[in-house]
Amino acid sequence: MRRKISLKPITLLLFIVTFVTYSQEEHGHADSGSDKKSEVKAYIQHHLKDSYDFNLFSWTTDSGEEKHFGFSLPVILWDGGLKVFSSSKFHHGETVAEVDGNYYKNYHGKIYKTDAEGTINYDAEHHATNEKPLDFSITKNVTMIMMVFAIMFFMFSRMAKSYKKNNGMPKGMGRFLEPIVLYVRDEIAKPNIGEKYYKRYMSYLLTVFFFVWIVNLFGLTPIGMNVTNNIAVTLCLALITYIITTFSGNKNYWKHIFWMPGVPVPMKIILAPIELLGTIIKPFALMIRLYANITAGHVVLMSIIGMVFLFQNWLGSGLSFMLAFVLAILELLVAALQAYIFTVLSALYFGMAVEEHDHH
């Protein structure tokens, strides 16, 4: 319990740390307002993007030299053979990395195959046309996913062990986690899926709930990367929900999709494609909802934090700070709420797939 309470002050502290890093960055060029505005914008865009190194903070020295503090991550490419090298070779996108006679350049957060000079060719719409190797790098987001993986495994396997040691009662962290696990079981799985089938989906629902929640919370800390604002991650989660729904669909479920009972035949023919489309739209909405909520939350929060530096007076900056503080607390709620919504809707779809009713 104590752990949870202490989370908010920690988050607040970390936000203050962000302000400090911001102000450090601002010191370099106290130029015109529009310059600062575009700088804030660029920073937000950079923050939302994945990156090949774990950059904790960067600053520019008085001489205009960019300094970065953080650590490099391995880059793994498949380009006619496995290529593994450290992202430090890119020097934060400034230089071309040479591996086994091939040249790669990190251009706007994507790796392109180039010549020795790192020339990027553009098409008419200013999109890079260079060849892109298959990229399985351990990026910042992947590192975060691995961290959450480790944290969750550690937390819950320890909790499971504490039951055995303590005569069927949880101990320590389990005391706090057990009500949440029971909440997922009693308030999400049981009412939406039904008493009969809910057990098979518990593993997925619990994992997805805690994964999304913890990942969202990490996204609110400046050191962490918000993993769920990547469409690839939410697509993966939604796809698993879709696959589980499709494979657990019973006769009744498919009958309701292809041959809706209780309506006239022409309507059945019209409804079938709509219902079929609906099965795809549902997980698609699930994917977009999580992605958009987290992205929008971060953009708004960071914009308001950026306003603190744009105003440059006590009143405006103070108000922006207050607003950012309130919003940060709201985002803490959103982090849990989105995890909850994702889990509830997944459970709802599973419930639809296994529902048995012949009262039509």
Binding site: D50, I76, L134, D135, F136, S137, I138, T139, N141, V142, I145, M146, F149, M152, F153, F156, S157, M159, A160, K161, Y163, K164, G168, M169, G174, E178, V181, L182, R185, K199, M202, S203, Y204, L206, T207, F211, N230, I231, A232, V233, L235, C236, L237, L239, I240
Partner: protein
Amino acid sequence: MEKLFEDFSLGLFVWQAVLFIALILLLRKFAWKPILDSVNDREEGIKNALDSAEKAKLEMENLQADNQKLIKEARAEREAMLKEAREIKNKMIEDAKDEAKETANKLIAQAQESIETEKKAAISELKSQVANLSIDIAEKVVREELSNKDKQVKLVESMLGEATLN
């Protein structure tokens, strides 16, 4: 929509899929199953304990009801016995009273009877004595009369006037 496709990173997707599915499988084996089983066991245990408590309570109530019934019966029995005893007592008193009355009546009747006979005897004796007396008187009167006729008559008349039979 275009931006979404542009942002999509296959590498991240593959990593997420692999790690997430591994996480589901690992947690299912090492966490969710033991946790949910333990919770289930505990809930079952609590439910069983509650059930048995309920049962014990019911049994207790039954026992109490039995006790109550026994007490009631005993009380009713005692009541009945007391009532019977009272009735017997009353009856005995009544009987005794009746008997006494009867005996008294009998005695009284006897006494009256004997009184009557005594009285009769007394009267008859009195009569005979009166007769004797009368004879004596008559004798004397006769004796005297024998001397004096007038005087004799006068005496008888006066004597008869005096000696009234009660």
